[in-house]
């Protein structure tokens, strides 16, 4: 069957030209879309690569810390510093007894003065306790003497170790230079290297100098125990219930110390200079060490615990202030405020985050810290724990400012979460006869809870990573605050992980143990932030409301 061919459609030359024009651009065999795609892809790739590089550097620099710290602790042990520190701990503990005695004396004196005695008469009544004070101090004198001699010896050994290590380094550098230089210069370098004396230290002999003092210490301990017995027997009675209770407590502590003397002795006897330092020990010294001491003539400690505690402590304190403020403000703006007020409050709170943190820190030092301290000295506020404040700059000052910085984050995200609660739920609740407050508490808040939790977590992340404010306002004392102060602990100065890095990174020797310790702190911060952000994301995904 013959079919008629349809006629060829007439395409004008003009249309053909236009249709083909778009494909004209080619560069290196690729068309325009490919290049545009490459451009955007490249931007994303740069961000990813930079982040990877940062993470890699952070971990690489920190990686050397563990073996370094292990070596550090090894020298501490082999040079006998650890041995001396056992004795030092004993004398430190003893010194606390003396301070307690002084405290009891002061309390007693105040008591007597309150009873109406004048100063000479009161002091006369305290003659017995004053005599004990003198005896108590004298009883430890032999220990102190031995300790001082041992300290001199051990630190000189350590000094020699350090010099020896430096010299070995110099020698190595000189020898390393020979390979790349001509014969004449090489010979000169060789001569220089030979001239460098690297002292080989006989650790066993040096430690023996320390351990041979053990009989002396034993003898001193026996004298001390006898003295303590006599002091205990001579402990006076005041006839005043409160003071007597304090005296009894002091007596208990004296007795406990006397009973503990054999334990100190045993520890000294058991100590071995050649016991190897395990990797776990080096790790624990970092993770659970309570001291951060650098550039010390005696021994450097890199214990992150006080810094970690400080960071978490300030952050929790800041959140305790920022959560109620941020969330209540978000609830008010989202649920209660008329539109014109919303338009006023929202940008205003968000504006807080525009304040540079150094300005806030400055404000904290100049205004907040000073005002708070004066405020804390008001007599009728003395019932507040921690008042009157000892320090102008403390954890609370920093936390108050950090709270201010966390509020915009928490407010904005919580407000978004509330905004995402369908309006229909609110109407349904109100139509059932619920009041506005019932609707907010029972319907809106539970529905927005996941978003609000995420807001809090991100606020936490914001706060724990903040540096400038804590550096300026937290007081920077590297110690775990005295938790026995109860709530007053908030007014004690602390130091933070961010603060220590910012403070010490500038003056540290590149590649040194201290340098690597700071990188370890950085890693810890990084992991903490990562965990918090990951948790926030998880919560948001897990409990997202179905979008209707």
């Amino acid at each position: 069957m013959a079919t008629e061919q349809p006629p060829e459609p007439a395409v004008s030359h003009h249309v053909r030209k236009q249709l083909l024009a778009a494909r004209k651009f080619r560069l290196l065999g690729r068309d325009r879309d490919w290049w545009i795609k490459l451009f955007f892809e490249g931007n994303a790739a740069i961000s990813v690569v930079v982040l990877l590089l940062i993470v890699f550097t952070l971990f690489r620099e920190a990686a050397g810390f563990m073996p370094g710290n292990r070596h550090n602790l090894e020298i501490y042990r082999r040079a006998g510093l650890e041995y001396v520190d056992i004795l030092k701990r004993q004398t430190t503990e003893y010194a606390a007894l003396g301070r307690q005695l002084s405290a009891v004396r002061l309390a007693w004196l105040q008591r007597l003065r309150a009873e109406g005695l004048d100063l000479p008469a009161a002091n006369a009544r305290l003659a017995a306790i004053d005599a004990l004070d003198g005896r108590l101090a004298d009883a430890i004198a032999t220990h102190e003497e031995i300790r001082s001699e041992m300290t001199d010896h051990a630190s000189s050994v350590k000094e020699r170790v350090t010099v020896g290590m430096d010299m070995a380094e110099v020698r190595k550098n000189l020898l390393g230079g020979i390979a790349g230089s001509d014969a004449a210069h090489g010979a000169k370098l060789q001569a220089g290297a030979d001239a460098v004396v690297v002292e080989e230290i006989d650790f066993t002999a040096e430690v023996n100098v320390l351990t041979t003092r053990f009989p002396d210490i034993q003898a001193a301990n026996r004298v001390l125990a006898g003295e303590l017995n006599e002091i205990l027997a001579a402990l006076p009675h005041s006839g005043d219930g409160v003071i007597d209770k304090q005296l009894t407590r002091l007596g208990d502590r004296l007795a406990a110390f006397r009973k503990g003397i054999p334990e100190w002795e045993g520890e000294l006897a058991r100590w071995r200079a050649d016991r190897p330092v395990s990797f776990l020990e080096a790790f624990n010294a970092f993770a659970f060490g309570r001291e951060w001491v650098t550039a010390s003539f005696w021994q450097d400690w890199y214990g992150v615990l006080p810094l970690f505690f400080g960071s978490v402590f300030i952050s929790v304190l800041a959140l305790a202030i920022a959560i109620p403020l941020g969330i209540c403000a978000a609830l008010y703006v989202n649920q209660v405020a008329p539109r014109w007020e919303q338009g006023l409050i929202k940008p205003y709170i968000e504006f807080i985050s525009a304040i540079p943190s150094v300005v806030l820190g400055f404000f904290g030092i100049a205004m907040l810290g000073e005002t708070l301290r004066q405020f804390s000295q008001v007599a009728w506020l003395s019932w507040v724990p921690g008042f009157p404040m000892q320090e102008r700059l403390n954890g609370f000052t920093a936390a108050a400012l950090l709270a201010l910085m966390a509020i915009p984050t928490i407010f904005t995200l919580a407000e978004d979460a509330l905004q995402n609660v369908p309006k229909a739920l609110r109407e349904a609740s109100l139509a059932l006869g619920a009041t506005r407050l019932q609707t907010i508490l029972h319907i809106i808040l539970p529905a927005a809870l996941s978003g609000i939790t995420a807001a809090i977590l991100l606020g936490f992340g914001r706060v724990i990573g903040e540096t400038m404010v804590v550096l300026l306002c937290a007081g920077n004392r590297i110690a775990i605050p005295d938790l026995s102060a109860g709530l007053g602990v908030a007014f004690q100065p602390v130091h933070t992980m961010t603060g220590i890095v910012a403070q010490e990174m500038g003056e540290v020797v590149r590649g040194s143990l201290h340098y690597r310790a700071l990188f370890m702190v950085g890693c810890l911060l990084f992991l903490l932030s990562l965990g918090i952000n990951y948790g926030a994301q998880k919560i948001v995904r897990r409990y997202r409301l179905p979008q209707s």
Binding site: L425, E427, A428, T435, P546
Partner: protein, 230 residues
């Protein structure tokens, strides 16, 4: 306009979009208070002879007596049980036994009991659209209001679910006064006893449903119900 909504019957509001049916409906339980732009200028709405816009009227009490079912089902993101119990708790019912009983009664009353009785403590959001809407009706009747306002309750439902809700409305009118806004004239004809036709913000005609659809007195009404406009 004057409109008498008869007790224990179904009154339907019909009319083209934007004629003010929903707005009027929302005035009956003062949900319009929430919208800043809508205010009652003049006139009164009386329920049992009491003007509900009287400053002395407690709007919370009013809403407890005038329940509402919305266009889109809006169960709370809680369990089925808690959805019903929420309103009951607002009424001060606290004892577990009483709550259990009231929850069952209202779920039975809205013909959804058999479908959900085994999963009362599962999330209400897992229900289908039609079930959610019946749950919302159950939530509204749990607190035993006098009046139930329904704002296009079937517009988001498929025909099968619509049938179920319509059957439910038939059963409910024995106990409650129902006002329903609908776009669907067949629905108005099926479920209502009286029908009000609105056009451009005015009440054009209000009469028995039979009359509105068979023999309307106003030519505009006739044009609308016969599908010539709207």
């Amino acid at each position: 306009m004057t409109l008498n909504v008869p007790e224990k019957q179904v009154t339907a509001f019909i009319g083209p979009s934007g004629c003010g049916k929903t707005t009027l409906l929302r005035c009956f339980n003062r949900m319009n208070d929430l919208v800043d732009v809508a205010r009652i200028g003049s006139g009164q709405i009386r329920i049992d002879g009491i003007n509900i816009y009287d400053p002395q009227v407690d709007v919370i009490e009013l809403r407890k007596r005038v329940g509402m079912v919305f266009q889109k089902s809006n169960p709370f993101p809680k369990s089925i049980y808690e959805n019903i119990a929420f309103g009951l708790r607002l009424h001060g019912i606290r004892q577990k036994a009483k709550l259990d009983e009231a929850v069952e009664r209202s779920l039975r009353g809205s013909a959804i009991w058999d479908e959900v009785k085994d999963r009362l403590h599962k999330s209400a959001l897992e229900l289908s659209g039609g079930q959610q809407q019946r749950l919302c009706i159950a939530r509204a009747i749990a607190v035993e209001p006098d009046v139930i306002l329904m704002d296009e309750p079937c517009s988001a439902l498929d025909p099968l679910a619509t049938t179920k809700v319509e059957e439910l409305i038939h059963e409910l009118k024995e106990k409650y006064t129902i006002v329903i806004v609908t776009h669907n004239m067949q629905q108005a004809a099926r479920v209502s006893d009286h029908t009000a036709f609105f056009y451009l913000g005015k009440l054009v005609e209000f009469a028995e449903t039979q009359k509105i659809f068979m023999n309307p007195s106003n030519p505009q009404t006739e044009a609308y119900v016969s599908g010539r406009f709207g």
